[in-house]
């Protein structure tokens, strides 16, 4: 509990609408503008205090892919030759909507 109260917690928890939880590094998640604003400590949002973001409108499958993208982004940040990320076609519309929502 003490770690979650501290604003500089290293990991944040992303929760999907159907209850899946993904724990990823804070810096990685902050690629998304929406999450960055949610976790901004000066805003006093409940997400910023608890380090836990709940996305009611994202399903677990989509959020998993989003987290995969966050890690992919982190991994290839300084690369010059970036490989393509593998996205199943049936997910790409939902991912597009999620990207729109997450501003990433």
């Amino acid at each position: 509990m003490s770690s979650s109260e501290s604003p500089q917690a290293e990991y944040v928890t992303l929760v999907s609408g159907d209850g899946f939880e993904f724990i990823i590094p804070r810096s990685t998640a902050c690629v998304s503008g929406t999450i960055r604003r949610m976790l901004d400590t000066s805003s006093k949002f409940s997400e910023a205090l608890s380090g836990r973001c709940v996305f009611e409108n994202l399903s677990g499958v989509v959020l998993e892919k989003v987290c995969e993208y966050f890690c992919y982004n982190e991994k290839n940040k300084d690369q010059t030759n970036v490989p393509d990320m593998d996205i199943p076609p049936e997910l790409c519309l939902e991912l597009l909507m999620a990207a729109d929502y997450l501003d990433t």
Binding site: N73, P89, L93, L96, A99, D100
Partner: protein, 507 residues
């Protein structure tokens, strides 16, 4: 006495049918039909006679044994006399001869007669309306003509709209599902020309002046498989008989009304000559880079403000020798903002001065090569494709595509979402921005895709864009000669696109 069903003696049957058979064989074919009608009449009569004893199941087949040599031993063997065993269907008193050939002839005759039964087809909707709405015999024909005319024009405009949107195969496939033959006339003509060339093995495909507003789907793809026909000559065979059957493919689309090019055009990787003169093109898709064997390209009399940078690649690394771009409303270097000059360092100090430059110093090979004259300012876009004014400091210099970009690229690649496979009612819930991006992805896909001019990744939304000025005057209008010293350079604007903020020239 009369109430009893009369049973005709079997002997009569046996005696009559062989005689008819003999008659029909001896007489000509015309007479055969007469005999058959006679026969059917007889059978019909007898059938009416004994309705009470009519079996409900399929009548049994049995054969006559009136041929002398027939028996159980040679039941299946063909009879030497040539006449086959007759087979009878039904009860032995029913006397229906089973003769398929005659039935067939009857059927053929009957086919021409209007049965009065009207079979519905996929175009039945309007036709049946016409029939029911107008009752008198004279009026309904006119009505039908009118209606079909209205339908024709309706679909023509529909097709045009569809073409203007530049949809891919799926649109046409959907069109095929509903109506097959209502293609605009100019498309039919174009298809006829292409088919003619394919059949005759002509590698010069002339579709010029055809009034095409877009290249219809499936028109050009068959040209991939065009093969020249061998020239057949009289016996003194000379060397030139053994010419290559590889086509020297030339495609002339001049004098049409094309405003977009389809990706299908860029699949013709054996294309050598392409003329797009006198069209309404505002942009040449970067996918033109795929036409690696292109030797001659005519883009004059269009609405181009700049050329794709990939064209320069075709000049430098490809075979393109003859490029015709003027006249076009191209950007002029004198009127454009220039970030950096690459020739004539002294001009850099005084950029507002005369922005014309001359070529000096002729190293022999380089005097042919295109010269990078200048680079224009770099425009940057955010991940939604909206221009951003402040330059880069806040944005990470990362080459990683945004999630939006990754999703869009996946979308444009998958055939799962074919051009307009997303139904309208599904798109209502989408944010307008997403819809705009999806449309853009579709357009990029239909234009043959884009790839970053810096890192060669495929992408949908350009994040950087800038103009480079190159002088290609040695390649314009054919190879005439290398530049002479002191010749004035006439740089052309080439647009470069980058897939990420980091994909920009380092200045």
């Amino acid at each position: 006495m009369d109430t009893e069903p009369p049973l005709p003696p079997p002997r009569r049957v046996r005696h009559r049918s062989p005689t008819i058979r003999k008659q029909s064989h001896s007489q000509s074919r015309n007479a055969r039909t007469a005999a058959s009608t006679h026969l059917t009449k007889a059978s019909r009569l007898s059938r009416f006679d004994d309705q009470s004893s009519q079996p409900s199941s399929d009548p049994a087949l049995f054969s006559s044994d009136d041929i002398p040599a027939s028996g159980l031993e040679n039941y299946h063997t063909p009879v030497s006399s040539g006449t086959r065993k007759r087979r009878y269907r039904g009860t032995w008193w029913g006397e229906t001869a089973h003769e398929t050939k005659r039935k067939r002839a009857d059927f053929k005759e009957k086919r021409l007669v209007d049965s009065g039964v009207w079979m519905g087809s996929d175009e039945s909707a309007f036709a049946s309306e016409g029939l029911s709405a107008v009752e008198d015999g004279e009026g309904w024909g006119e009505e039908l003509v009118l209606m079909s005319r209205a339908e024709d024009t309706g679909t023509a405009t529909e097709m045009d709209v569809r073409d203007q949107q530049g949809r891919g195969l799926a649109g046409v496939r959907a069109g095929f599902g509903r109506r097959v033959e209502e293609e605009p006339r100019e498309h039919q003509v174009a298809r006829a020309i292409v088919n003619d060339c394919l059949e005759k093995g002509q590698d010069s495909v002339d579709l010029s002046g055809g009034n095409l507003r877009a290249i219809p789907a499936g028109l050009l793809r068959p040209l991939l498989h065009l093969t020249k026909l061998p020239t057949i000559k009289e016996p003194p065979i000379t060397e030139d008989v053994y010419s290559s059957l590889q086509p020297f493919l030339r495609l002339f689309l001049a004098g049409n009304a094309l405003s977009t090019l389809s990706s299908e055009l860029f699949e013709l990787d054996s294309l050598r000559v392409l003329s797009l003169r006198n069209n309404k093109l505002t942009e040449i898709p970067p996918a033109i880079r795929r036409l690696t064997k292109l030797q001659e390209l005519n883009l004059s009399v269009n609405r181009l403000h700049f050329l794709p940078w990939e064209l320069l690649w075709l000049i430098k690394k490809g075979d393109l020798k003859h490029l015709t771009v003027r006249p076009n409303p191209l950007l002029q270097i004198e009127d454009s903002e220039i970030l950096q000059w690459h020739v004539l360092a002294e001009k850099q100090e005084d950029p507002t001065a005369v922005k014309s430059c001359e070529y000096n110093g002729p190293p022999p090979e380089e005097s042919w090569a295109p010269i990078h004259v200048a680079t224009g300012p770099i425009h940057r876009y955010n991940m939604e494709g909206v221009p951003i004014s402040d330059s880069t400091s806040t944005h990470a210099q990362s080459r990683v595509p945004s999630l939006r970009e990754a999703a869009l690229l996946c979308f444009s690649r998958s055939s799962y979402f074919d051009a307009d496979a997303i139904p309208d009612d599904e798109t209502i819930g989408f944010p307008s921005l997403t819809l705009r991006l999806l449309r853009q992805a579709r357009d990029v896909r239909n234009a043959g895709g884009r790839s970053c001019s810096v890192c060669h990744r495929n992408f949908v939304i350009a994040r950087t864009e800038w103009i480079e000025w190159w002088d290609c005057s040695t390649y314009e209008n054919g190879l005439k000669g290398p530049r002479s010293s002191g010749e004035r350079l006439r740089p052309l604007p080439f647009q470069r696109l980058g897939c990420s903020i980091a994909c920009a020239p380092s200045l």
